[in-house]
């Protein structure tokens, strides 16, 4: 060996092959999981003897989806892009007169007497056809959840200068430490009580 050549070079050509082999093994045996979605609670099955509670018609916001993906909101054919706006107007209406116990002090709506009394009373009722496409249903759900989130964000900004969705995700994150969680829990609860999510789903009709 000549002095100028230095030490002999190790042939690392096969190392790349081995790494590729491992890489391809991982590519075929694993998946990238999607682990986010819309959280919902299903209604429990009520005992048949129980009388359903009486709810005033003006406190119900009806959304009907037909098999062609068309939307009937409060008996009015509506574009899906307008749904969030309409739902927010309904929830935020605060129709109860000032002075009454149901008066909503934080609502910024139009306070129409024929729409919902206050956000705690307001119920969104969603009905869909058996032939409705799942993707349409998810879009509608997304818009309705979005309406609640937007209103909650507004109140959270007013009270705590922070978005509600942001606070909630920090609260639900298992890496958040306990003392911080305790503090957040109260705030999250308070905002949730201002706009409680009341989204009811009627049993699916076979046709309409």
């Amino acid at each position: 060996m000549s002095r100028r050549g230095g030490p002999a070079e190790v042939n690392a050509g096969s190392m790349a092959d081995i790494a590729f082999l491992l890489l391809i093994f991982f590519l075929v045996t694993t998946t990238i999981e999607t682990d986010a979605g819309l959280d919902r609670m299903l209604p429990p099955i009520e005992p048949p003897t129980e009388e359903p509670p009486v709810i005033k018609e003006k406190n119900i916001f009806t959304v009907n989806i037909n098999r062609n993906g068309q939307l009937l909101v409060e008996d009015e054919l509506t574009d899906i892009k307008k749904l969030r706006e309409k739902a927010m107007a309904f929830l935020d209406n605060g129709g109860a007169p000032s002075g009454s116990p149901e008066y909503c002090s934080y609502c910024k709506g139009k306070r129409l007497s024929e729409s919902s009394d206050n956000p705690a009373k307001a119920i969104i009722s969603l009905k869909n056809d058996r032939e409705t496409k799942y993707s349409t249903y998810i879009t509608v759900q997304n818009e309705l959840v979005g309406a609640y989130n937007d209103l909650r964000n507004r109140e959270a900004q007013r009270l705590y200068k922070r978005d509600f969705t942001d606070m909630e995700s920090e609260y639900l994150n298992p890496e958040t430490d306990a003392s911080r969680k305790e503090d957040l829990k109260e705030k999250v609860k308070r905002i949730q009580d201002l706009f409680p999510q009341k989204l009811s789903e009627a049993e699916t009709g076979s046709s309409n």
Binding site: F26, T31, E33, L42, R130, K133, Y134, I138
Partner: protein, 160 residues
Amino acid sequence: MSKFAKKKDAGLPAVNTASLPDIVFMLLFFFMTVTVMKDNSLKVENTLPNASETKKLEKKDRVIYIYVGEPTSQYVAQFGKEARIQLNDKFSAPSDVGDYILQERAKKPQELQNVLTTALKVDKNANMGLISDIKQQLREVNALKVNYTTYDGDAFNNLQ
């Protein structure tokens, strides 16, 4: 003059490939960290719809998965084009969902049994009729917490 002649003899130097393994290992580690092992192979199409108001499913041990969609091309001859439910590794009828949830719940440790979430991974082309049947079954076994698993994105993309 002799100096020039010497250099010509050496010919082309070999391309140095020493950094190639490093690059491949980098890719390998990336895949190892962002993916998880497949626990069951999907037999249904599973293109999830998009939604923007999503919440993350945090604890993996508290989730039961239900897949719904058209059978993939190799099963079409056997099961047809209609959307089906896949529980564990096989196609199932809507009436099996209740039993499946109870079975899975029994496998979990006692303290987790009341906080389980059912993740519905439904193909965007499925019909709501099947989903309603599943939801009814879930209500019957009192598994009320559901998560409609979606991709992150603009929900209006679903409509096209």
